[in-house]
Amino acid sequence: MSVPVLSVRDLRTHFFTRAGVVKAVDDVSFDLAAGEIMGLVGESGSGKTVTGFSLLGLVDAPGRIVGGSIKLNGTELVGMSQRGLRARRGREISMIFQDPIATLNPMLTIGQQMRLAMEAHERTSRRGADTRAAELLSQVGIPSARERLGAYPHEFSGGMRQRVAIAVALLHRPSVIVADEPTTALDVSIQAQILFQMRDLARETGTALIWISHDLAVVSSLASKLAVMYAGRIVEQGPTATLLRDPRHPYTAGLIASLPATAEPGAPLSQIPGTTPSLLSLPKGCPFAPRCARASDVCATDPALEARGDRAWRCFHPVGLSEGAVS
């Protein structure tokens, strides 16, 4: 593998609330190469969004990064000044959020917003900015882009707004884009168009992409590798196809088995019992143990990340391996 553009090691982001310390991200590590697409999968509260926010230094009080390292193109971001982060946000790393209505300023035209985003990092002429903005808008599939620069966000449909947000994220050709459920609010036919385009854009521009989603089907058709999060930790990571075909962590296996697409129509679905634990009162040891059919006494201690080739998992009783092979 080539030199990673983004290298995250032992990242810990905790929130210091009145009710106690919430370990929203606990010991997260991964690498991302240029042009690579990684899917970050998990349920609500698993820490996938906070991981994304941490990468951009967007975690607000009472939360903060308490440990670990984030290296972007070799530069350490943890502990960097706000000024330093601002210089990199949007230029080297940018983010696409779930709700395009909330991310665009309703009072400014699309052209104005894109110009502001450009001027944040470089001097441009108005004409030069407009040309570049129009170019990007047509690249993300907005018809008659030049004329639409004067339009306001409310004049666009949801799918078109998300395309504008993607164009803004692409403005400075960043090394990494963090996309937080960008197609969840969109219709399936629009989602398919955008997924298709993002895949091509990542390939053409060499931008690496972290695609945060709760939808395994979406990431399976987009990402080349996956990281599955549960209760603030990555419980399993590896190449998409092998991970989905042959999951190691019982949580991953349970998620895949519970999808209606993998079951006989009308038959009961296999279900994971119980609910996700509160991050304020995590069980001791493996946080998945209370819901896990494979759990034993040893699960009361924290399982370490077990790496085998390009795969890794955090489990004492991985699925698909005999017990003898583990010890």
Binding site: E43, S44, S157, G159, M160, D187, V188, S189, I190, Q191, A192, Q193, L195, F196, R199, H214, D215, L216, A217, V218, S220, S221, L222, T240, A241, L244, R245, G254, L255, I256, S258, L259, P260, A261, T262, A263, P265, G266, P268, L269, S270, Q271, I272, T275, T276
Partner: protein
């Protein structure tokens, strides 16, 4: 096929509520917005006793409005809905308790200031299905059936997780002892691992209580799993209806084919990237839908006739109907 739930030629439009002054101004030729959105137009369908009909389509296609029309929450502009031969609405008022609804968002559909036990008991007490004295036992029974601890009846909604709230919403609907249940995206706001629990609960209750269901969802894999037949809607019209397996495997309407083709599938065996076939363009504004077949501007099979004539729903196969001039050509593509 004997119809238990029958929807006959139902339409519903939404328009601005004009003041008298605006009406006069419009008469005199002033530019007042008088356009109407035809949310549901001329929908007819039947559902057998104990059957689950899936209703799919993109946002704005009218599937939720149709659900509300069947449930008697909205009066139709035209047409009638009947359950077992009796109308759901009369004179703009709902006249039956035989149809109940489970809504998408269990955070919005439960009164945050009412104890959940009371939320479930309210309807049955009002309609004489139980008495105030017996309400506690009645509610406890329904709590048990949906997998909730009967000891929780005195709690408030905020004390429950999303999946538990959806169980409460299901208990509230079923405590009215309906024959027909409308499920409007009941699992869309739930986490994946909780979705399976609620779907299993739904399948079991539907069988135990012999419920007739209309299951609305944008998630095609969920609809395929729970339904026997499926109706596909586009801009207020049903474009295809038939047994779920056949419709999914061999769609007769080009929109159905395109919709199913654009859903990301869980890829377990491919090491290379999957091929997508996104539909071109976007859903047109329902304020000014295209003439003829609403889908023709995006349709690869469209010809001149499609822009002129509205294709009627017609039989294309045993038990299957589609509203397309070129349904035979579409079926040939497989």
């Amino acid at each position: 096929m004997s119809a238990f739930l029958s929807v006959a030629n139902v339409s519903r439009s939404f328009g601005p509520n004009l003041t008298t002054g605006e009406k006069i101004a419009a008469r005199l030729g002033a530019s007042v917005e008088t356009r109407h959105v035809q949310a549901v137009s001329g929908v007819s369908l039947t559902v057998r006793k104990g059957e689950t009909l899936g209703l799919v389509g993109e946002s704005g296609c009218g599937k939720s409005t149709l659900g509300r029309l069947i449930a008697g929450i909205l009066p139709p502009s035209e047409g009638t809905v009947q359950i077992d031969g009796a109308p759901v609405m009369q004179g703009g008022r709902k006249v039956t308790t035989r149809v109940q609804t489970v809504f998408q968002d269990p955070f919005a559909s439960l009164d945050p200031r009412m104890k959940v036990g009371m939320t479930v008991a309210e309807g049955p007490i009002a309609h004489g299905l139980t008495t105030k004295a017996q309400a506690k036992a009645y509610v406890a029974e329904w709590f048990g059936r949906v997998g909730l601890d009967p000891a929780w009846v005195d709690r408030y909604p905020h004390q429950f997780s999303g999946g538990q709230r959806q169980r409460i919403a299901i208990a509230r609907a079923l405590a009215m002892q309906p024959d027909v249940l409308i499920c409007d995206e009941p699992v869309a706001s739930l986490d994946v691992s909780i979705q399976a629990q609620i779907i299993n609960l739904f399948l079991q209750l539907q069988r135990d209580l012999d419920l007739t269901c209309v299951f609305i969802s944008h998630d095609l894999s969920v609809v395929r799993h729970v339904s026997e037949r499926v109706a596909v809607m586009y801009l207020g019209r049903i474009v295809e209806l038939g047994p779920v397996g056949q419709v999914f495997e061999r769609p007769a309407h080009p929109y159905t084919a395109a919709l199913f083709g654009s859903v990301p599938k869980l890829v377990l065996d491919a090491d290379e990237l999957v091929h997508f076939e996104p539909i071109e363009g976007e859903v047109p504004s329902p304020l000014s839908p295209p003439p003829g077949c609403h889908y023709h501007p995006r349709c690869p099979l469209a010809s001149e006739v499609c822009a002129l004539d509205i294709p009627p729903l017609r039989d294309v196969r045993e038990g299957r109907v589609a509203a397309c001039h070129h349904a035979e050509a579409q079926l040939q593509r497989y």
